[in-house]
């Protein structure tokens, strides 16, 4: 796997407030990387630093092996993106806007512009003034703008904002296609877990300016339950119960003083559960309950990990 984008120890302070704390991660060519975090977590700030809108105080950014700081133009040649809202020149048509960006990037033919417009589904409206576009249409235009020059790294900041469900699906297909077929390293930020789950290969979670972790979507779900069903047992003596269960060749995790959890292959839980119960009861441990856990979604993981679900925005 080749590295598309590499962030090393990025910190950023604006005014007196430190907004980013030592952020490091890598995205690879051919994958969709989700950058997940609640509002105010620092997603946009990170993205602005990557595309050079904010200056890099501390740390290093490498785009396809080129250091952003020393070779800005060369590094940016490989980047396409949208930052925050897709604000284009309202008094120009969609096509005129795209031509503006085409001229700045070089090597973008009219054929390529038409191709991209077709891809984002704006062909019928591209000659209208952007001032008359809806948010969703501008978002599509923003995506078109970002992929004009075949960037190796595509960075989209909350691109599903304002898109209708069909639009979201189309975008998902476009991004997956770009990543998996054309080998683009895509970075998508979002505060919506459900869509991350559907479009991303890996997810980095950021909260209050700190990167909490990077994992594949499968990993992330399976750390709690994915593919398996968790059974929670409530017993009188957790340490002894765990010892016994280790003998049964089952993996158990302690939850608290009275409960532990065992991950069992979904659909084949009956026999192991009765075996565990028999063993516990046979050893004289008080068994107060045994219940399957609900299948946890990424959303729960996200809220659990960031612990900001019910708090104020940081």
């Amino acid at each position: 796997m080749t590295t598309a984008l590499k962030l090393e120890h990025i910190s950023k302070t604006i005014g007196k407030k430190q907004i980013l704390h030592d952020i490091s991660f890598e995205t690879y060519a051919g994958e969709v990387f989700g950058f997940l975090g609640p509002n105010g977590a620092g997603k946009t700030t990170t993205i602005k630093i990557i595309v050079g809108l904010l200056c890099l105080d501390e740390g290093a950014i490498t785009v396809c092996g080129t250091a952003l700081k020393n070779h800005f133009e060369k590094a940016m040649q490989n980047i396409g993106g949208i930052v925050e809202n897709p604000e284009m020149y309202k008094y120009l048509t969609g096509m005129q806007n795209l031509r503006q960006y085409a001229r700045m990037r070089g090597n973008v033919s009219q054929k390529r512009i038409d191709e991209v417009v077709e891809m984002v589904g704006l062909s019928n409206r591209i000659h209208e003034k952007v001032g008359h576009y809806s948010l969703g249409m501008r978002q599509r235009l923003g995506v078109a703008q970002s992929i004009l020059h075949h960037p190796k790294v595509l960075i989209l900041d909350e691109p599903t904002n304002g898109l209708d469900p069909a639009g979201i699906k189309e975008l998902r297909d476009i991004l997956k296609n770009l990543a998996h077929k054309e080998g683009v390293g895509v970075l998508v930020s979002s505060h919506l877990m459900s869509e991350m789950e559907m479009m991303c290969d890996r997810v980095g979670i950021i909260a209050e300016g700190k990167l909490i972790g990077v994992q594949t979507v499968e990993e992330l779900i399976s750390t709690s339950s994915g593919g398996k069903t968790g059974f929670v047992f409530t017993v009188s003596d957790v340490p002894r119960a765990l010892e016994l269960i280790a003998g049964l060749n089952q993996e158990a995790t302690r939850l608290d003083g009275r409960r532990f959890q065992v991950a069992l292959p979904s659909g084949e839980t009956d026999e192991p559960v009765s075996a565990i119960c028999a063993k516990l009861i046979g050893a004289g441990i008080g068994l107060y309950g045994a219940a399957p856990m609900e299948n946890k979604k990424l959303e729960d993981v996200f809220i659990a990990l960031t612990e900001t679900g019910g708090k104020q925005i940081g």
């Binding site: 602005k48 590094a75 396409g80 930052v83 284009m88 001229r103």
Partner: protein, 472 residues
């Protein structure tokens, strides 16, 4: 280079797709048209106020009031004057005719004669004066201007109180007319000869004073000498107009193409407003509309983007100047015809007269005036880049353009502060500095150019620093 050209192209596309640009452009067209319309009003007004003394046709009773005045107040020589006026009346001679001047000369000689016979002069003098008076009369009756001028020359030659140089100087215009067969009249050539004769007299008296040790304004003296040369060149090459002094306020003869066209170079502030609006908004509007993020997310260094905007502003300013120049030329041609287009501009340097096409001369005036536009536009550009507010940038730019001169006027005239000469506003009006009409004594063009260059550099550095380091 090709890529940079494309950046500038982008800026032009943005500017030309904005309605505000076209509205102001429309105002520029209106300004050019308005100038021609105003000039027509001025022209009509001038015709109405035509000076009675240049009246070139005789009307009955035109001498009555003057005769009555002479009869009433009886100034010295009034009898001879009345005789001359009655003579003019009887022969129906208007003011503008050379014979009017000849009749006056005749009256003067007769007055002299009267006082001479009273004080008892010798016969020879009386005889000579009587003959001169009779000769004047004959010349008038024969309508022979050559004879009249010959008498004038003879009178000067016989005047024993004049030196040889003075005689030459005084008789010059008569000799010149006789030599070039130029009949007197109120046409431009006659006026020019009269003006030249006056200049010659001035130069002669200045030189004389100089010899006797009084310091003279050498600049004025040299100007007069040059002017005499240029005038003679004009007469010989049949150049009706002096484009350098043409203008709405002092037209030569009837108002014409060059009077209006040359005035247009003073209306360039209309263009500065357009340019200040563009310069003041081209950076700030990217911020206010949020498009700056998409502008900077490209593989182009910020410095280049800013520079492309500045190149657009400057080149647009000069394109506008060219447009305004052509527009004014076309409107002036529409209103005043194309007859005068070939008239050249004359400049005298090192004793020789150089002739340049009139259009080149006016273009030069436009270029000099463009310095002001350039400075104000750069100021607005810098503010726009530094503060990211179009309104503020346009406001300060326009205020500087309109209020700068007033500020200088107050500092210099009211408060008498000489350091005001270092201010940018005292140095942008290059054409007035060049012809020496600057408020500050000895303000030189080189000095002004240095002040302008320093300010431009500071403005651009500010703009660059503000734009390149800005966190978006």
């Amino acid at each position: 280079m090709g890529k940079f050209f494309k950046l500038v192209q982008n800026e032009y596309i943005k500017i030309l797709n904005r309605i505000s640009t076209w509205i102001i452009l429309g105002l520029v067209v209106l300004a050019a048209l308005g100038l021609c319309l105003v000039s027509v009003l001025v022209k009509n007004e001038m015709n109405r106020n035509n000076d009675t003394y240049s009246q070139s046709t005789y009307t009955d009773g035109m001498y009555d009031s003057e005769i009555a005045y002479q009869k009433d107040s009886k100034p010295e020589g009034y009898e001879q004057m009345i005789e001359a006026l009655e003579f003019l009346r009887d022969n129906k001679i208007p003011y503008a005719d050379w014979r009017y001047a000849a009749a006056n000369d005749m009256a003067q000689v007769k007055t002299q004669l009267a006082s001479a016979s009273a004080s008892g002069l010798d016969d020879a003098t009386v005889k000579a004066l009587t003959k001169t008076a009779q000769d004047y009369k004959n010349a008038i009756l024969a309508k022979d201007w050559k004879a009249y001028y010959q008498i004038k020359i003879d009178v000067i030659q016989e005047d024993a109180s004049l030196s040889k140089e003075e005689k030459e100087m005084q008789e010059w215009q008569y000799q010149y007319r006789l030599g070039h067969d130029l009949k007197p009249g109120s046409d431009w050539k006659s006026n020019l000869i009269t003006e030249t004769a006056t200049l010659k007299a001035q130069v002669a008296s200045m030189r004389k004073e100089q010899e006797s040790g009084t310091a003279q304004d050498m600049e004025k003296l040299n100007q007069n000498v040059d002017k005499i040369q240029a005038n003679l060149y004009r007469i010989e090459h049949n150049i009706r107009l002096d484009i350098a002094s043409a203008g709405l306020t002092h037209p030569q003869g009837t108002l014409g193409f060059w009077d209006v066209f040359s005035t247009s170079s003073k209306m360039i502030s209309v263009i500065s407003l357009l340019i200040i609006v563009i310069a003041g908004s081209c950076v700030a509007s990217e911020f206010s509309s949020g498009t700056i993020k998409f502008l900077l997310i490209n593989p182009v260094k910020r410095g280049k983007i800013l520079f492309s905007k500045y190149v657009m502003v400057v080149s647009f300013a000069y394109l506008m100047l060219l447009f305004f120049f052509i527009l004014n030329a076309l409107f002036c041609m529409m209103f005043y015809g194309t007859g005068d287009l070939g008239i050249p501009y004359l400049s005298v340097a090192g004793g020789t007269v150089h002739s340049t096409p009139g259009f080149a001369y006016i273009a030069g005036k436009y270029l000099l005036a463009s310095v002001d536009i350039l400075v104000m536009a750069t100021l607005a550009f810098a503010i726009s880049s530094l503060i990211r507010s179009s309104a503020l940038a346009i406001g300060v730019g326009a205020f500087a353009m309109l209020g700068g001169n007033t500020l200088i006027l107050i500092l210099k005239q009211a408060l008498n502060l000489d350091w005001a000469r270092y201010l940018i506003f005292a140095n942008t009006n290059l054409s007035s500095i060049m012809d020496g009409s600057s408020l500050f004594a000895h303000q030189s063009v080189q000095f002004a150019l240095i002040v302008v260059a320093v300010h431009m550099f500071v403005f651009l550095l500010t703009a660059w620093d503000g734009f390149v380091r800005r966190e978006v």
